[in-house]
């Protein structure tokens, strides 16, 4: 059995990293907003989905233009991801302004319900726009970076099987890592990042130190939503087909990744995302081997969630979270 596990390990790691990197960046959006408002912004999954649609829309549009063919694919990708991130960032800011800010003083459950409402609105608005412009709501983007690469792990040791991936895997992984490094720098080393941390630690004191709390909260939503939207583009590129409902389950998993790492903790979200992605892929590849064929790959989510439950039983604050006393 161990042999079979090892045999598929290289491919599991590669697929797991790609998925995990996507979870990780989306999880950042959940964790940042939670850190500053103690709000679980369930609409964040839909921001991710919106990003996937905006990105794919741009790709399809640009591919239809003759001059775009002359531009290197990589440059095209960078342009699309930047435009998408700015769009979704602004959507996030607008969402906070219209739906969450008026509820700032309300009991926590109320903005949570609002978030679920926004999810439905975004799903249907995107579906409406997609149907209106293309006649269908399940879109397949142009295939980019689809060269197949095979790494011959079997030449290292006969224990391993070869692993293969598309070039897009590298793009997804590198972009996700760049985004995470940039965010980490932003939060820990810059003026606005410092302000974000100050507001999340003590909003009132931060405002007495001349920090405009509303502006800081808007910034947080912008950054979180821009990251979410950018990841949507990565997702669409890696997995090809998107529909308006991809945000729900992916958002849920990213939220779980954030909880796994310790919600409110930015590095925790990154770690939780990668772990969840790898665990899920591991389960998909090996569940039937491990259980003698009783459970198949479809049970990968159950496996991942079971691990989450076990972690939370022993570390309710998450892997990197700190136990905190409830503020009274």
């Amino acid at each position: 059995m161990l042999q079979e596990l090892l045999f598929s390990l290289p491919q599991v790691l590669i697929d797991g990293l790609a998925l995990g990197a996507i979870y990780a960046v989306v999880a950042l959006g959940y964790t940042m907003v939670y850190g500053i408002l103690q709000l679980i912004n369930f609409a964040h999954g839909e921001i991710f989905m919106t990003g996937a649609f905006i990105g794919t829309g741009f790709f399809i549009m640009l591919m239809g233009m003759s001059w775009a063919a002359a531009i290197p694919q990589l440059l095209l990708f960078i342009i699309v991801i930047l435009i998408t991130a700015s769009f979704t960032g602004l959507i996030g800011v607008g969402m906070e302004r219209v739906a969450y800010r008026p509820l700032r003083g309300a009991p926590r459950l109320i903005p949570l319900i609002t978030a679920i409402g926004i999810s439905f609105i975004l799903q249907d608005v995107i579906r409406f726009i997609a149907e209106l412009t293309t006649g269908r709501y399940i879109l397949t983007g142009p295939s980019l970076f689809s060269d197949q690469i095979t790494i011959s792990f079997s030449s290292i040791s006969s224990w391993f099987n070869n692993a293969s991936f598309k070039t897009s895997f590298l793009i997804v992984l590198i972009t996700a890592i760049l985004l995470m490094v940039a965010l980490d720098y932003f939060v820990n080393r810059t003026k606005w990042g410092t302000a974000i941390r100050a507001v999340s630690l003590d909003r009132e004191t931060a405002s007495l130190m001349s920090i405009n709390v509303n502006k800081v909260i808007s910034t947080t939503f912008f950054v979180g939503s821009a990251l979410g939207g950018a990841t949507g583009v990565l997702f669409a590129m890696q997995y090809g087909t998107i529909d308006p409902y991809i945000g729900f389950i992916l958002g849920l998993k990213a939220f779980i990744a954030a909880v796994l790492g310790g919600i409110g903790n930015i590095r925790g979200a990154m770690l939780g995302g990668i772990l969840l992605g790898v665990m899920e892929m591991f389960a998909a590849a090996n569940l039937s081997v491990l259980t003698g064929g009783i459970f198949g790959a479809e049970y990968k989510d159950v496996f991942a969630f079971a691990i989450l439950i076990i972690v939370l039983i022993f570390r309710p604050e998450g892997l990197l979270g700190k136990p905190t006393a409830e503020k009274v």
Binding site: D202, T205, L208
Partner: protein, 270 residues
């Protein structure tokens, strides 16, 4: 010229009047104290001046301009900063980061500058760190700069709060019981710092304090509150011998005692 002018300010919480008809002013460059027994409404008064609470009635002017109705960050931008009775540092942040938060409003960088990592942005961040370091040196906290604020000793945390408040480059700094919980040696050191800091940073000081030795030593003007009302004002000598003040602190019996022996009253209030 007064830096802060408060006229007939009243604050009611439901049926409770926490501050009643208070009139007070702080002259530029002076050290002014607000004293009074526990529950006299001193901290409420600070919260009114800094915009945390809005007065029920009355006017608050900073350099002649009203700050009533402004949010705390807007009042802070007008040049008012404060420390807290129960220390409110950003415990999970390092010492220098706490000071950098105070400098927030003086850094011009927008998000775009950060996103593009412009040289001007980096330059500004580095300059801010240097300035924060100088401020920490002044308060003898420079070796602790990368320590988390929550790990500092009590006295050091109090000093760091003052450093953070000064980082906003205020015109008026409000100190809410700066010496609370300090030992005599720390209090002595703090007294010297407060005395010097007014001149060195060009800041006027308004403080709440229970340590009468400290108050009498450094204040030029003192206001006394009791049950939310101003009961006396004057220089330290006036306050020391004011029967109303002695009564507020020690009960009416002490006043009669004080009338019999002037020196006795002196020592009890001190």
């Amino acid at each position: 010229m007064p830096i802060l002018e408060v006229t007939n300010v009243t604050k009611e919480f439901g049926g409770l009047t926490a501050n009643k008809d208070i009139t007070l002013s702080v002259q530029e460059g002076s050290i002014t104290a607000v004293i009074g027994p526990n529950g006299a409404g001193k901290t409420t008064f600070f919260n009114l001046v800094t915009g945390v609470y809005q007065p029920t009635s009355g006017e608050i002017l900073v350099e002649g301009k009203s700050v009533v109705g402004l949010k705390p960050d807007e009042v802070a931008k007008r040049g008012i900063s404060r420390t807290f009775q129960n220390i409110r540092l950003f415990g999970e942040m390092t010492v220098i980061e706490n000071v950098l938060v105070g400098m927030h409003k003086h850094l011009k960088t927008g998000l775009l500058g950060i996103l593009l990592n412009l040289p001007s942005t980096r330059h500004e961040e580095i300059e801010a760190e240097k300035e924060a370091y100088r401020l920490l040196e002044y308060f003898d906290l420079a070796e602790l700069l990368n320590e988390k604020a929550k790990n500092l000793s009590y006295g050091a945390q109090r000093k760091l709060e003052i450093a953070r408040a000064l980082a906003t480059k205020p015109k008026l700094i409000l100190l809410d019981e700066p010496a609370a919980g300090m030992n005599p040696k720390e209090t002595k050191e703090l007294t010297d710092i407060i005395k010097k800091m007014g001149e060195e940073f060009g800041v006027s000081i308004l403080l709440i304090e229970h340590d009468m030795k400290l108050v009498m030593e450094i204040s030029e003007h003192i206001y006394v509150l009791d049950h939310g009302e101003k009961i006396a004002e004057g220089n330290p000598d006036d306050i020391r011998t004011n029967p109303k003040v002695i009564e507020a602190y020690l009960g009416s019996g002490a006043v009669q005692l004080g009338q019999r022996s002037e020196t006795n009253a002196n020592t009890t209030v001190e």
